[in-house]
């Protein structure tokens, strides 16, 4: 009886994964608000709490519900923190049934990106001090994940957002260091530096009076060094698309004696990824294209790639364990053995959980402007006009998933 119950539980866990992935797919075609309502109607499994609140918090940010977004993302952050230690019981479950019996503790991407989303929620909620705290925590999180042989958990977008927040607070040396760290990560990832970041490096080195650094960047970017600065500053972040969902690659084969069916299921990402598309930002005098600062599709794949050997090892070990259990059961009772074999087949599902509603890319553009109005034009959505208080600093977040523009000014 309890075995049947277990099978039922396994089926349900598979359903929850598929329902979540379907909603993430729908985010391409429906507004964040409607996906948020649909997601809030579902009840997450205890093991999926972190993933659930990561997605809820992100959708609430895009919907402009900042206090709620902060609450949800803080729950997710706390949950991931408490799950950082290895669980003995969950490892046993994952080793004997499937990987979804392990609580979702977040990939390195999630553990750093949660601070980005929290910082933006605090910022748009008019709490720049809270945003600064998150950026400091992100720095600690990245140091924890640092590995000299890989870029796992090292996000250029986090350094960029840190730089923007420090610049808004007029902490020049901190801003300069953050922009430099963003430059370093982008260079290691072989991603062209966005013009806005180059301007940030020039601006901060000049403001700090760091002549050596300013000369270096002036020589590297001579056309930008002649850039005339206007009174108003506009930092534009653009979230393009939705990151890929994982898919299951499974294989079922008969055993060598034909007595049993053996199945393995592994998570993977689809090979084809849509090309990043830029948004345009203009003030009537100039038009800038947003440029990729973080390719989340690539980083999600890197995170899975890093975990792949251990997933493969556990999957094959589990297949052997299941084979032995069925073999023993068949020796005692053929019918029970066959039913158990069936149960081991349907319980073998890949863990497809991830923070799957994140944007596919995070893009950035910077404008100096004296205008009292700019127009943000994400592809395939209507132009959005944003009123600016002249001479102020502005942070704007746009996405191609909705017409909502988030705006902070000081």
């Amino acid at each position: 009886m309890y075995k049947l119950l277990l099978v039922f539980v396994f089926l349900l866990s598979g359903c929850a994964q598929h329902s979540n992935n379907r909603l993430a797919d729908d985010l391409q075609f429906q507004t964040p608000e409607s996906i948020l309502s649909a997601l809030q109607e579902t009840k997450p499994d205890d093991r999926d709490i972190a993933q659930y609140y990561l997605n809820i918090g992100y959708l609430q940010l895009l919907s402009g519900h900042f206090p709620e977004s902060i609450d949800a993302l803080l729950i997710a952050k706390k949950e991931m923190g408490s799950l950082a230690a290895t669980s003995v019981s969950e490892n046993i479950g994952a080793g004997t049934v499937n990987e979804t019996l392990r609580s979702y503790s977040g990939y390195p991407l999630d553990r750093v990106m949660v601070h980005n989303m929290l910082a933006l929620s605090y910022l748009f909620n008019q709490d720049i001090g809270g945003a600064r705290v998150e950026m400091l925590q992100a720095d600690v999180a990245m140091k924890k994940l640092f590995d000299k042989d890989s870029l796992s958990g090292q996000l250029a977008s986090t350094h960029l957002i840190s730089g923007i927040i420090y610049e808004l607070l007029d902490e020049r040396s901190n801003a300069f260091i953050s922009y430099q760290l963003a430059e370093e990560v982008l260079n290691k990832r072989h991603i062209a530096l966005p013009e806005g970041l180059k301007l940030g490096l020039l601006r901060m080195s000049l403001k700090m009076g760091n002549d050596q650094a300013y000369d270096k960047y002036s020589q590297a970017y001579p056309s930008l060094a002649e850039h005339q600065t206007a009174k108003g500053q506009v930092f534009v972040l653009y979230f393009n698309g939705v990151v890929s969902n994982k898919v299951q690659a499974s294989l079922t084969v008969p055993s060598f004696n034909g007595q049993q069916l053996i199945r393995i299921a592994m998570p993977t990402y689809p090979e084809r990824v849509p090309r990043p598309v830029s948004a345009q930002v203009g003030d009537g005098q100039q038009i800038k294209n947003t440029q990729v600062t973080e390719n989340i599709n690539d980083i999600a794949r890197e995170d899975l790639d890093k975990e792949y050997p251990s997933i493969l090892l556990l999957t094959t070990t589990r297949a052997i364990a299941k084979y032995k259990v069925v073999e023993e059961a068949k020796k005692k009772d053929q019918l029970i053995g066959t039913l158990l074999n069936f149960a081991t087949l349907i319980s073998e599902v890949a863990d497809l959980r991830s923070w799957n509603m994140l944007p596919a890319t995070i893009q950035f553009a910077y404008l100096d402007t004296n205008s009292d109005n700019i127009v943000v034009s994400p592809p395939k959505t209507a132009d959005n006009s944003v009123s600016l208080q002249q001479g102020h600093q502005h942070v704007i977040l746009a996405t191609n998933l909705s017409n909502k523009i988030l705006h902070y000014q000081q």
Binding site: S82, L83, A84, A85, T86, S87, V88, S89, G129, G130, R132, V133, L136, Q137, V140, K143, K144
Partner: protein, 199 residues
């Protein structure tokens, strides 16, 4: 066999229910409890107490009393949180205000936000209170000094072990001429080790 299974189920259910139930224990507010290692009420109380005691034991206070012939009036200004944690500086400010008032050595002036509420009430009294009980405008006690400060942290991490270093800096500034009459500093260092294994 069925009886054994039912018994086992009953025992397991009761164990699970016990594990899931919420338990609450009342603690003395002064009791030191550290759960996550983050800044907590104990740190806030400790720092406020020690720093205010330090400030009141310094010569600025006697110099002021001698020259002005009255106790100094102090107001607590903004305490900036520049740390790695979301610290509610209001509780820290409240702790400092309590220590300052209870010392009996300084007059204490309400903060800007509290003053506005009192002014609104005074304006209301002007219209609605009887002449005998009405409080006039323009009788406020102006502060002589403002206390400002910041909370900073340095975090060093290695795997599951963290060293958190908190530094609280406070300064007392004369409102008359912007002179800094006292600068205080309190440091707290914590070593936090997180478990690598959970059940």
């Amino acid at each position: 066999m069925k009886i054994h299974t039912s018994l086992l189920l009953a025992v397991m259910s009761s164990v699970m229910l016990t594990a899931c139930s919420t338990s609450v224990e009342r603690l003395d507010a002064s009791e030191q409890v550290d759960l996550s290692g983050a800044w907590n009420d104990t740190d806030s109380q400790l720092v406020a107490e020690e720093m205010i005691q330090d400030s009141l034991s310094r010569p600025w206070i006697t110099k002021f009393v001698t020259s002005e012939g009255k106790d100094p009036a102090v107001i607590v200004g903004r305490i900036k949180n520049l740390s790695h944690e979301h610290i509610n500086t209001n509780t820290f400010v409240a702790n400092m205000e309590r220590e300052l008032i209870n010392s009996g050595e300084v007059q204490f002036v309400a903060s800007a936000s509290s003053r506005q509420e009192i002014r609104d009430e005074r304006a209301d009294q002007d219209l609605n209170a009887s002449e005998v009980t009405r409080k006039e405008a323009g009788q406020e006690y102006g502060a002589d000094f403002m206390m400002q400060g910041q909370i900073n942290t340095i975090v060093d991490v290695d795997g599951t072990t963290q060293v958190r270093f908190y530094q609280v800096n406070l300064e007392l500034i004369s409102l008359k001429d912007n002179r800094k009459v006292w600068i205080g500093e309190k440091k707290i260092k914590k070593l936090i080790s997180n478990s690598k294994i959970r059940p």
